[in-house]
């Protein structure tokens, strides 16, 4: 494991960076897929399943590129099914249980707004294959942002009940937003090479967008300076990730050599 290594090579840093991005999308995609068949209305059931599929697609291409960079004969499924929770480097926010629809929408909005700015930067990466992927993902993320933003308005400025639930969701999620802007050695090394995005460069734009939407939705913006949780990027997770992985990996680990055809 490469957690907290003293000096990373560029190759190790890129593998780490791609895996982090992929882990965020795989885990959130898995969480969203739990809505399939349980959406509040048919259109939303379909929308959340579509978005889940997009995330899993993003994760798949990022994992594929990560194992290509690593060049040790692993494939994307090895990363997905045969790593334990401490080897997963996703943000803590994405592993939290799906909660109610208000919670899911609040998380979708915060994450989509973040992903939008992140991919805008990654689309300019000096690595052509990576920037090509980012340009593609960005098109889809725009749909995700439009979707969740509309729902924040409807729920925040909806009924007393929907307002209360959505406000609670943002309050609960707030401690996890700090991790969006976590930076360590791997990030810095790749930023210097023009490969990764400097998340601080869009921190204030992201804050403005979030503030603007929450205020229009008649929601209170929680305290930006409150305590922020971290650890996900180092493999330190909430208890929820282990349960999610147990469910997701169980079949594959029980029959490691099984093939579809």
């Amino acid at each position: 494991m490469s957690t907290q290594t003293q000096t990373l090579t560029k190759k190790e840093a890129l593998f780490e960076y791609l895996t982090r991005l992929a882990d965020d999308r795989l885990i959130l995609g898995h969480r969203l897929s739990e809505w399939c068949g349980h959406g509040p209305i048919l259109e939303e059931d379909i929308a959340l399943a579509n978005i889940a599929l997009d995330y899993i697609g993003h994760a798949a291409s990022l994992y594929e590129y990560a194992v290509e960079i690593e060049d040790e004969g692993r494939n994307r499924d090895d990363l997905v099914y045969f790593r334990n929770d401490v080897e997963y480097k996703n943000l803590k926010m994405v592993e939290l249980p799906k909660g109610d629809f208000g919670f899911t929408i609040a998380r979708q909005f915060l994450f989509s707004a973040y992903s939008y700015f992140l991919y805008e930067k990654l689309a300019e990466s000096h690595d052509d294959q990576f920037s090509g992927m980012a340009r593609k993902h960005l098109k889809e993320v725009k749909y995700h942002l439009r979707h969740s933003r509309e729902w924040v308005f409807r729920l925040g400025d909806g009924t007393e009940e929907s307002h209360r639930r959505t406000q609670t969701a943002f309050d609960e999620l707030w401690t996890y937003i700090g991790e969006f802007f976590y930076t360590d050695e791997a990030d810095e090394l790749l930023q210097n090479e023009g490969l990764a995005a400097d998340t601080n460069s869009f921190h204030s734009e992201w804050k403005n967008l979030v503030t603007d939407v929450l205020e229009k939705a008649t929601l209170e913006v929680p305290d930006w300076d409150q305590y922020m949780a971290e650890g996900g990027r180092k493999g330190l997770h909430t208890e929820y990730l282990g349960h999610l992985l147990a469910e997701m990996q169980h079949l594959r680990r029980s029959y490691p050599d099984a093939k579809w055809e």
Binding site: I46, A47, N50, Y116, Q129, H147
Partner: protein, 170 residues
Amino acid sequence: MPKALTKYNKDDIWNLLSEITDPEIPVLTIVELGIARSVEKEDDKFVIRITPTYSGCPAMDAIEKEIHKKLRLNGIQNYELKKDFSETWTTDWMPDEAKQKLQEYGIAPPGKTEEGDNFLSSLKENPKKVPCPYCGSKNTKLQSEFGSTACKAQYYCQDCNEPFEHFKCI
């Protein structure tokens, strides 16, 4: 009998690819959709480049299998299928005839993408009106930007009362 291997050229491969239709939108071929990008001869093999439409589109796996099947049935083995992300797939690659086919099939075709738009300010505008593929009315309503496949949105025509799908413009 299939032609001898050496007789095949790039155009033959391309023609074979243009016989493969999309499993979810069977009126369009993978060439019309812009999924098949190019065929090049490199040394003793053909390199076929394809690009996915949407990242998570489950039809991509089916399409790759169809390509392998088509080529092998025609006795072609010296090829490599490469997924290419260098160009970003866009509905602008779809020729007018393909858009016409979609329309006749009952799916409102994509318009032209507008590059250079400021996305964040466009969020505040109302979505563009999509004409109903059945009656042509512009009095339609967006039901959801997500539909039965990743590439389609759901609309409703308020004149002929028909629900319909729109191939999203990206």
